[in-house]
Amino acid sequence: MKTIISTSPFLHHEATTPKIMWEVVYTLIPVLGVAVYYFGLSALLVSAAAVAGCLVAERLFDKKKKAIGDGSALLTGVLLALCLPPGFPLWIAFLGGMVSIGVGKSLWGGLGQNIFNPALLGRAFLQAAFPEAITTWDLPTGNYWGVRGTNLAMPFFKGTPVDAISTATPLSQLKFSHEVTSTMDLLVGNVSGSLGETCGLLLILAGVYLIARKIINWRIPASILATAALFSGILYAINPQYPTPQFTILAGGLLLGAVYMATDYVTSPLTTKGIWIYGFGIGFLVVMIRVWGGLPEGVMYAILLMNAATPLINRFTKTRVYGHEK
């Protein structure tokens, strides 16, 4: 809707919602590039499928037929893809995208209304519905053109495709066989994992950029990472069986989650105090789930849980208004 401005203010900051969404998408291009470098064409195909699912759902459920222009569905699609394994069946990625937008956003009333991060909600759905497919990881191959057989799996046909090589992610290696991946490998991304989570260095750079551009609130990644590092550091100090703080931060989806998922405006608290509580909660839960939960990874559930707490946090962290006592 165009509004003809007839009352002040007549000037407006240059940032608009679509511009912000697009800028975040641009920062994901290098992340996607690295995914292609490590996982080949598969990475692109999975992303395209997830994005297509999101866009189709956005178009389908949006009565006014204009929401697609705000860029948020595209962003959700890319983010969803980044937390899927490279050999993920394309049709499931597409379905995941549809669920992300359809159930994660449109059902709530569209942009700004949802409680849960749509990309993570879609991911959680896939985890529940296709637990096998989503934990089928493979190692970076350096084979750019090789499309993984699993990508082309047909809907509802069971059976293991021939060339599925299932390897363990650094987190599951640690959890189930106590093998530690080197920090260097984690930084450059030469490990197995979801498309966007493996290259720690790039995610840190992207985070710094987004903070400098004031697109994401620095307090969110800062509080998540600080809490996770501190908590796992304490555990490590007590018993070196537990992962080191640097492993906690670099392995798995913590950086991706802290920079791109937890910072989603819609599903994070509005007030500064609320943001600290939220970040602390995520950092704490991630370590809890990873160490004591049944799963190797806990970022997704940690963020979704704190998303659920956000309305409550907003209610209880009112800002102190100028000229009023607390």
Partner: protein
Amino acid sequence: MSTSLIGSLQTFPHGVHPEEYKELSCNRRIERMPFVELYTLPLSQHIGAPSKVVVKEGQKVRRGEMIAEPGGFVSVGLHSPVDGVVHAIDLFDHPNGQVLPAIQIRTDRFSTQQLQLKPVPPEEMTTAGFIKAVQWSGMVGMGGAAFPAHVKFSIPEGKTCKHLMLNGCECEPFLTCDHRVMVEYAEELIDGTRILARFVKPEKVYIAIEANKPDAITLIREKAAEMDFAIEVVPLEVKYPQGAEKMMISAILGEEVPSGKLPLDVGVLVSNVGTAVAMSQYFRQGLPLIERVITVSGTALKRPSNMLVPIGTPMRDVVDYCGGITVPSPRILLGGPMMGMVQKNLDVPVVKGTSGILALTDHEVRDLDTYSCIRCGRCLDACPLFLNPALLGMLSRKGLWEEMEENHIMDCFECASCSFVCPSGIPLVQSFRVGKAMIRERKAK
């Protein structure tokens, strides 16, 4: 007192940085608007009771002669801006959009318009005499609100003015009239400040100027140094709304004015620099408030200028004098772009509260696409009062006035910082104006 990370200038927390557009007119010397044929002087140019007419149609008046006297305590005098004849006393279009009583003066074409006024030496005056003199001189706050100056200067029993602050922040984009006044009338500014200080007896006097006016800061520091009493010139960070009284007090003293109270409750009196200059002109030369400096600017205007305009001059004449408008359908505003109002009709007079006439093009004013609130929190980081505009906006869309009141909407002073930053183009402050009006209306019932 909060200091910004970059540099060490004092400022308040939060606020926004709109583009300034001051370069259009900040180096243009104040020009005197030539006399025109007809002046329209509304009886309500200030907040409070209208002035009472003391002239008759057809009566000859001198430039500076009183034509209407204060209509109560919260009211001021009104004077003729020219030698001429009372042409009509009737209803005329007022810049606020209403049709209101006004006196029209037809200029005497053969007069040289020489002022024949006597100074009003403040030295022997009592405080009561001073207050009355200010009231009858027609003085109002020149910052835009046009609140009678003498009411502000009357310090009630039990309160004291510890800090006198002269406001030269001028944080609204485009406006440069206060800047030019400070540079071109520095002596009068210091003198007016001293006259005011004589009566309100502050412990400390400050002149606050945003750092984007270095020439004014240097000059006034120099002039102030020559004085026999201390004036501290405080450069403040360039940030909107730095010129709001509460924000200035935060910046200088680090203190908050409690909700619902006045600056005087924390011992502060704030006055605009233009008001101080007008005071000096009145007490030293006897010149009542019959003219003021306004900024006429915008990219749709041929020659952006700072003009010394007799009160009552039709805006159209002022705009034409500045070369006229260069585009077919500009947006004409009164005041700055953050808090000013659209003016559709240029056939209204410049009044005491007019600080600027702006003609903007689509280059500056973009129509916005609106999206849902994405809860980005930018409005919370912008609001200088630490309100939650996102929440208030949501409540106003649902018509939940009581909840809005609980969330302190009545504290909002409509600075528009929240709307300025909202990436979803949500008309926040616009809906707050409605909400506040609704709440007031309900209270009245």
